[in-house]
């Protein structure tokens, strides 16, 4: 069966098309989310289907997930990103027991059961601290690009983590440290350390168990990966494309729910599905 998973996140939108019989990802896409979710969802599905050499109509079952999951009118089911990330990560890393996902505007920790299902989870989306947005703010304040920040921090290694709970306080702490003459590499390493620590404090309530997998766009920063390793005291696993685990999980779950339907029911679903073609400028 050909399935699709669409993950509309606050910053990035991702799609995966899967052939469940071959257990192969046929194509995937990552684009920036903007304000218009509905047209974006169709656009990314069409784009990904094209890459796979298919048309949208050939997709048997579609699952929508992410922050904007309610804005995918043609999705056959909408499932939370927690369940989808768990599914996607478990597929890539069967030995995973704890997932830490750092998104653009939220962060989550998910505990997996031995069967690979969600055992428990915890989320933070109340404030910027511990999310990609915080790093964005620091980058703008210091007028240093995200990749430069990452490079600089990696040079420093170990440093006293920034302690503040609040993103605004943390920024002020960073600025104070710089004005005291602390080298910028040390300050940034401390920032990543504080960042990891804040997320781990949240995750600790789940009783972190190995293997730990990091996902989400923000974890592409090597400095953040290093900070997590330091704070945890052991290595972490990172998918090749950390942004796609949600969409992958959604596509896999599409296979599960689509698989429960008969061929007639699937055909009827495909016929009923309405894609309104809209031009995206």
């Amino acid at each position: 069966m050909i399935t699709a998973g669409i993950d509309i996140g606050s910053t990035m939108t991702k799609a995966v098309i899967l052939d469940t019989d071959q257990n192969a990802v046929l194509a995937s896409s990552i684009v920036e989310t903007g304000a218009e979710h509905r047209t974006l969802a169709l656009f990314i599905l069409e784009d990904t289907a094209k890459k796979a050499g298919l048309s949208c109509g050939q997709v048997a079952f579609i699952v929508g997930t992410g922050y904007g999951r309610l804005n995918i009118p043609f999705a056959d089911k909408q499932i939370t990103e927690i369940t989808c990330h768990a599914k996607g990560v478990c597929h890539l890393f069967p030995q995973a027991r704890t997932i830490i996902e750092v998104g653009g505007q939220d962060s989550k920790a998910i505990k997996l059961t031995e069967e690979g299902t969600v055992g428990d989870f915890v989320m933070n989306n109340k404030c910027a601290a511990g999310t990609g947005r915080f790093l964005q703010c620091v980058s703008e304040t210091l007028e240093v690009s995200l990749s430069e920040m990452n490079e600089l921090a990696l040079r420093a290694g170990d440093a006293m983590p920034v302690s503040s709970l609040c993103a605004i306080f943390a920024q002020q702490e960073i600025i104070s440290a710089l004005s005291r003459g602390t080298p910028v590499e040390v300050v940034l390493a401390g920032m990543y350390g504080g960042f990891a620590r804040k997320i781990l404090t949240m995750a600790n309530s789940l009783r972190i168990e190995r293997e730990v997998v990091l996902t989400g766009g923000t974890c592409k920063h090597a400095a953040l990966q290093a900070a997590f390793r330091r704070e945890l005291g052991f290595d972490v696993l990172i998918p090749e494309e950390p942004l796609l685990t949600g969409a992958l999980g959604a596509a896999l779950l599409a296979g599960k729910y689509g698989g429960r339907l008969s061929r007639e029911e699937l055909e009827a679903l495909q016929l009923r599905r309405s894609f309104t073609s809209v031009e995206i400028s």
């Binding site: 440093a159 302690s163 503040s164 306080f169 104070s176 602390t182 040390v186 404090t201």
Partner: protein
Amino acid sequence: MAEELKNTKPRTGAVKTTQTCHEAGQLIKKFNADAVRALQEGSPVAWVMVSSMMEELCAAMDISPVFTENYATAAASRPGGVKMLEVAEGDGYPQGICSYARVGIGHAMLRQQCGCVQPDWPLGGMADPTVILGSTNVCEPRYKWYQQLRRYQNVPYFCGEYSMMRLQSGVDPAEVESYVIAAAKKEFLRCKDFLVKHTGRKFDESRFMEVVLQGERTRDAWWKCEEIRRAVPGPMPFEDMIGCFPIGFMYSAYPESEAFFNKLYAELEERVAQKKEVGPVGEKYRILWGWGIPPYGYLKLFNIMEEYGAIPVFGTSNTCYGKYTHDDFGSFTDPVERYLVGQFRSTNHGMAEANAMHVTQDVYDVIRFAKEYKCDGIVMNGTPSCRFRTIGQMAAIEMLKESTDIPILIMENDMADPRAINEAEIRSSLESFVQVVDTAKRRREGN
């Protein structure tokens, strides 16, 4: 924990002025060391809430007290305090609840994980308790915290029901005193029975009377020091008294405490005689720390004030528990009654006046102390994890404006959670506030 000690941040504690005050820390260390030694010798140790009607009882029964609230204030400015907070939060305790309790619970959780306290913990950790004594007096964390300690440590817990010892607005203390004391006395004796049972120590009434009288003497000596601080220039800033008042508040039963305050008084007398000023630029403005627990993770804020010539000449944080009225307790022959009446009347010392003015007792204290200590400005601090010492500050400002026009500043920084302290904001708000105080003072003096 070792990596915590690589502290690249500058120190956050306050630099003290008076000489005697440096001995306060030593004395408290000694009391804590006594508890550790007691434990090693097989003698009982009690974890106690302050102002819980049980500190003097422990002293009279030779049970070493450990004050866990006080421990949290020390942990707030030391590496390892944050770790304890994080550990407690990891078990599901929300960040909004009392930070003293989160430190205490984190300590208990770590102790359970490690098997015993570790030397690199703040102050080397707290000595294991034989019993824990909570109280419903003052606020909820004071009985819920100890209830939760038992989740990690199997230890007998007595929770004293004293919620009426500190009255609410509008209640007339004279109307309720007799039945509150009657009930409190029964509770006190139940606590005594509990301690006898679980520590094997005896309770001797005459010994307790000695302790009560010692307590009265210590607190009187403490209050003499508070009252001499009315002098202009003020001889002792609030950050010094923060270091000292635990001795009067928690350890009043010990003769060393009385001796300490007598020594402090002598130093203050001399400072007053010589008109010695506090701070690098002297005393330009007199500030009242009007309300709120100070942020123990950044007591340096008082030195910052002093840089601008604003001297915190007095603070009300603990006046509501510590001050004995000057009533004559001689008519009470029963030491338990004498003790409890003393506690009740000092805690509610301003209720009658406050009720007459239709303000809360806390507001009344601010009004009178601002006058008595000739203050030019009032600083308050709201602590996000403490309802009891924060709610009402904004209202207080409105009530105060009816009787005073001296400027008031409210800050918001937590007492024992250093992550919820905004250092940059403290400096900038104090700097601006001093300018406001200066303008107001000139206006009052007709300049």
